[in-house]
C-alpha cells in the first residue's frame, strides 16, 4: 500500500486527537494483517470511494472508547459505553476519515467517505481485500488501531 495513504491516516490521528484535548498519542507499530479483524470491543466502519476504494476501521476497547468520549464531551465522566459515548466515537471516526481524505486530496488523491457505522460487542470483521494494513496506536496508553482495507483505482 502506498506510503501516502498510510501516513494520511496516522497523521489524521495526530492532527485530530489534540483538538479533542488528547496529546498522548503514539504510533507503536505498522503491520500487514489478514482480512479477518477480531474486535476488541468497538469498531467504527467508514466506506471509501474515489481514487481509493475500500473501508477503514477504527478499533478500540470500550475503556478507550469511554476515555476518548469523555475528552470529546469536555471531561464529563463517562461510566458506560452508552448512546452518548457511541455517538462521540461515531463522530470521531468521521472526523479522522475526513481529515485523512483532506490530507490525501493535498497529494492529489481525491476520495469521498460514507457515514460511519459503529459496532460494539464480540465479533469479527471480514474485510473485502485480503491484505489489510494495521496501524497500532496508543491513545493515552490505550490501544487504538486503524485497519486500512483499501486499494487504488
Amino acid at each position: 500500500m502506498n506510503r501516502e495513504i498510510i501516513s494520511a491516516f496516522s497523521s489524521a490521528v495526530v492532527n485530530i486527537m489534540p483538538m479533542l484535548g488528547i496529546s498522548n498519542i503514539k504510533l507503536v507499530n505498522e503491520r500487514k494483517c489478514g482480512k479477518q479483524i477480531e474486535s476488541t470491543g468497538v469498531i467504527g466502519i467508514i466506506g471509501i470511494i474515489g481514487e481509493l476504494s475500500g473501508n477503514v476501521f477504527f478499533a478500540m476497547d470500550e475503556a478507550c472508547g469511554k476515555k476518548i468520549a469523555s475528552y470529546m464531551m469536555g471531561g464529563m465522566e463517562v461510566e458506560e459505553f452508552g448512546e452518548l459515548a457511541q455517538s462521540a466515537i461515531s463522530e470521531l471516526s468521521n472526523m479522522l476519515a475526513a481529515n485523512a481524505s483532506m490530507i490525501l486530496s493535498e497529494t492529489g488523491k481525491m476520495i469521498d467517505i460514507s457515514t460511519p457505522t459503529l459496532i460494539n460487542g464480540a465479533f469479527t470483521v471480514s474485510s473485502i481485500f485480503s491484505e489489510v494494513i494495521c496501524l497500532e496506536m496508543l491513545v493515552e496508553d490505550m490501544a487504538f488501531n486503524i485497519y486500512l482495507s483499501v486499494k487504488e483505482n
Partner: protein
C-alpha cells in the same frame, strides 16, 4: 419561489427593513420578523416559515443560540446567517449548528437570492431521495431474491425509527457515497446465510468463508442495484457504494447513528428472516 415563507431575525429594525426589502424585490415572501430570541421563537411557532435569515449578534442571545431555539420548533428549518462579522470562529460555530449558508453585510441581493434558491433546490432533492430510497432498496432485495431463488420476500414492520440494532448473527455494512452519504445494513442469522449460500451454490455444506463471501456479494448487488435505480430517477444523486464489510460473531450491536432519514424493514424469505436498514444524511454546509 413558490410557497417559500421567510422570516427575518435581526435586532436592528433598520436591518430587518433592508433585508426584507431586498428579499421582496427578488420575489420572495417575507411573512414576519423578530428582533430577539423570544420573538423569533414566537414568530416561527406562529408563522411556520421554511427559511429564516439570522443576525449573528443580538442583545441577549447570539445567532447560534437563536438557531438552536427555533430548530426545536422545526428541526428542518433552513437558517442563513447574515452578519457583518465573518471569521473562522463564527464559520466553525455555524457549520456545527448546520447553518445552511452565510452572507456578509452589507447584503448583496443577487448573492442572497442565489443562496436561497440553491438551498431550497438542495432541500427538494433530499425530499425526492427520501420519497424514493426505501422503495428502491426493497425492490432491489425483491429482484435479487426473485432472480436467484424465484421467491419474493414478504416485508413487514417497516419503520423510520433511528434506533440501536442487535444483529441476528451476520451483518453486512455498505457505505454509500454521492450527493448524499449514507449506509445500508443487511442482517440475518448465520443459519439463514448458510441456507442462502448453499442454495446459490447447490451444495449441502459450505465453509464459513463461502458464507461470508456470499453475504458480502449479495449486499453489494442489492445496494448497487438500488443506487443505480435511484440514479436513473435523478442522475444528480450520483450514488455509489463502497465495498462490503461483513461482520459476524456472538454479539453484534450496531449503534444508533445520526441520520437525517432512515428506514428499517424486516422480510420473511424462503431462508428465514432478513433485516434491512438504510439511511442518509443531508450534506452539511460547506460554505
Amino acid at each position: 419561489m413558490e410557497n417559500l415563507k421567510i422570516v427575518v431575525v435581526d435586532d436592528s429594525p433598520f436591518s430587518v427593513a433592508m433585508i426584507s426589502k431586498i428579499l421582496e424585490e427578488k420575489g420572495f415572501e417575507v411573512v414576519g420578523s423578530a428582533n430577539s430570541l423570544p420573538e423569533a421563537v414566537e414568530v416561527v411557532s406562529a408563522l411556520k416559515p421554511n427559511l429564516v435569515t439570522m443576525d449573528m449578534t443580538m442583545p441577549e442571545a447570539d445567532g447560534i443560540e437563536c438557531t438552536k431555539a427555533i430548530r426545536e420548533i422545526d428541526p428542518n428549518l433552513k437558517v442563513i446567517v447574515i452578519s457583518s462579522m465573518m471569521d473562522e470562529e463564527i464559520m466553525r460555530k455555524a457549520k456545527k449548528a448546520k447553518i445552511s449558508g452565510y452572507i456578509q453585510k452589507p447584503v448583496d441581493g443577487d448573492e442572497l437570492s442565489l443562496l436561497i434558491r440553491r438551498i431550497m433546490a438542495e432541500e427538494e432533492l433530499f425530499v425526492e431521495l427520501e420519497q424514493l430510497y426505501a422503495t428502491a432498496f426493497k425492490e432491489a432485495v425483491t429482484d435479487t431474491y426473485n432472480r436467484f431463488f424465484k421467491s419474493i420476500p414478504a416485508y413487514k414492520n417497516e419503520n423510520s425509527l433511528n434506533s440501536e440494532l442487535v444483529s441476528q448473527g451476520i451483518t453486512v455494512v455498505m457505505g454509500i457515497i454521492g450527493k448524499y452519504s449514507g449506509r445500508m445494513i443487511l442482517d440475518m442469522s448465520v443459519d439463514s446465510a448458510k441456507k442462502v449460500a448453499c442454495s446459490l451454490l447447490c451444495k449441502d455444506n459450505l465453509s464459513e468463508e463461502y458464507v461470508i463471501n456470499m453475504m458480502g456479494e449479495m449486499a453489494n448487488i442489492i445496494a448497487g442495484n438500488a443506487c443505480s435505480m435511484l440514479n436513473k430517477k435523478n442522475e444528480v444523486f450520483g450514488l455509489r457504494v463502497a465495498p462490503p464489510t461483513v461482520v459476524y460473531g456472538e454479539s453484534i450491536t450496531i449503534s444508533k447513528l445520526k441520520l437525517d432519514t432512515v428506514t428499517s424493514v424486516e422480510a420473511d424469505t424462503v431462508f428465514g428472516e432478513i433485516y434491512l436498514n438504510v439511511g442518509f444524511n443531508r450534506s452539511e454546509c460547506d460554505e
